[in-house]
Symmetry: C2
Subunit: 438 residues, 2 copies
Amino acid sequence: MLTIDLLIEARWIIPIEPPGITLEHHAVAIDAGRIVSLLPTEHAQAQFQPRHTVTLSNHVLLPGFINLHSHAAMTLLRGYYADDIKLMDWLNQPICPGEDRHVSPAFVRDGTLLACAEMLRGGITCFNDMYYYPEAAADAALRLGMRASLGILATEFPSAYAADADDYLSKGLSARDTLRDEPLISFCMAPHSPCTVADKTFERIATLSAQLDLPIHIHLHETRKEIEESIRQHGIRPLERLRRLGLLGPSLIAVHAIHLEPSEIVLLAEEGCHVAHCPTSNLQLTSGIAPVHDLAQRGVRLGLGSDGVAGNNRLDLFREMNLASLLAKLSSHDATTLGAHAVLRMATLNGAAALGQDKRCGSLVAGKQADICAVSFEDFSLAPCFSPAYHLVHVVGREHVSHVWVDGNACVIENKLQTIETSELLAIVNLWHNRLGS
Amino acid sequence: MLTIDLLIEARWIIPIEPPGITLEHHAVAIDAGRIVSLLPTEHAQAQFQPRHTVTLSNHVLLPGFINLHSHAAMTLLRGYYADDIKLMDWLNQPICPGEDRHVSPAFVRDGTLLACAEMLRGGITCFNDMYYYPEAAADAALRLGMRASLGILATEFPSAYAADADDYLSKGLSARDTLRDEPLISFCMAPHSPCTVADKTFERIATLSAQLDLPIHIHLHETRKEIEESIRQHGIRPLERLRRLGLLGPSLIAVHAIHLEPSEIVLLAEEGCHVAHCPTSNLQLTSGIAPVHDLAQRGVRLGLGSDGVAGNNRLDLFREMNLASLLAKLSSHDATTLGAHAVLRMATLNGAAALGQDKRCGSLVAGKQADICAVSFEDFSLAPCFSPAYHLVHVVGREHVSHVWVDGNACVIENKLQTIETSELLAIVNLWHNRLGS
């Protein structure tokens, strides 16, 4: 008998790899934060001596979700813009009206803490963020025990955080140095968008991405106006501009990717680019419906993102999975498009791959870190259940998430956060609410 | 001091009438199942001697939601069709493949019980149903204490329930007679759809609707194929056919109403017809996006419906409100379209008006029955909150519903059903799950 830290026995497991399967009465054996084995529960009981066993008799286990696009700190502004937001109004600046007056390390730490608490309890174990003061965001993620990919932000627009593009980049690179020994923290180059970043900055980012082996996280082809502006200023569409500047390739994470010509979809596929699909934000900001079905058919790997609270009001990948599936069915005129297993893969392994983290997380496979989400199927609103995978995409809400582990540590038990008291969180948010409301 | 049954004191109240307002620190005084008064809490405390007081210090009170289109009993088939459903495949029959083998009074009673439990706990106090065996559906609704509008179904297709259109009508009318003394139960004429009902049956329905003062609940202009079939068989589009047959008017509840010419939108408005908008179902069955913004601008009154589990997997008006708002913003290219108060009105008062029940429910106004929903804003995932109305549409999930009253009776307290044990419900569903799974 091999002694291990933790054995999780579950009614169903959807490991994501191999694709499309749902195992019954299996268990995940975990030691030192890693998955040791995934096997039938009765074999596991014969083979392992766990220090701790969690039996989830009416639950699905699956990899923790990966939120491939967020501006976490903005969560302090949830509902602040209400029905009055228009993306075009601040397309040429990376910051929303109202937001600019408050951004500081404390705002970022507190806002990211609120966001992480919400994401983690909803089964999200890793998020890919783009915002100011990444050290402050790291503080929050590490406090809650969550995995984070933080942006080395770049824009030509000065802010309280940095004076110009070079200053943004040097501050981001310095944050990366400071945090290099944190296994939960990784970084992306994060040029804000084609409208807000100059050619020479993009060239530097391409070089840095190659030298440091970092993904490039950028808003791309989100609105028609972005494309028109690019044609006016540069004579070409943003994607072609990025191609000429050497940014396309498997490192690129194109966020939104809504307005695409067929040739651009082929280009994204040929270059091995990733897309962060943000369906709620795309509707709320009236940007459009991304051609997810066409992208997937051409072989572009798609992950899912919540975006920040200017474009969404929940950081909820269950909602995004559901909406992604519904919109893909509608756009393709085929109710069988984007089946449940494909959506679950988008929300997990595809996100990990985009972040270059798929050797570390994104599926329940021996050798990977134990980033795991358990969903309880006990409530009558989920009954009956003929297919757990289908239910996860179309029936379950994040309130049914019961347990979450990151690196084998229990961050959520019985839908309750283990790493922060709710009262502390609410006190922090109230403070900002009073400041922002006035 | 006037003695009353119940005083509910709330942090916020959105009464729906007058439109667009959110009251703070107000209370609803209730006696004998009716709203006596809505007034500032401190005045209420001075004026009333309640037998029972409920203090909801961080909650919003609003009218119970009205689900304007359901096939409640089908909830026993939740997820049964998974990603494989295509509406076209059974457009010409009113019943889904698989469903026909099981329909019986027991199926309808048990399925409607599951549906009512889900709806009620999610803040829905009334539903407008179209299905077989309405007495069995009434049994379930009354058991849980819920308001229901049941269909006097008509189709030309025989089923276990009835042999032909006349048989359907006489069985439905007889159910209405049996249930005439139940104040929670009302009826609609429910011709299934233009494809499944003959002209002479429609003529009889028009007469019965006028004689008995009953709304007419019908699937209408849901798919392009429905319209093509009508042109092929009758030489005209379904709406024009119904107009000629005398079915248009304030009694008509057109469900889906997706594929509409501009002149048809004008016609619906001029005739005072109602539309039951079912956004999730419209996407899932790839039917299309209804022109909600145009309908609303022309003055057509829209309510919201979940549809049955072939087109949706949750009976959740919070989801429908959110999706209705997002799709309207996208289609109108304007992020300010269909603001929160307008959506809340759709989900409450407009539903009541469509059912001819707006003197009885749909808003928190003295003299109406006390059909009320309370939503708790205590959870950190709803913080901060700058506008309770906006939060209800874009942030809140049905899991935040804390209390529900129908006719002044507490059906849900602290998100727990008061009128049935969860264990009984699950036992009933399991029985059917085993039968259906085999």
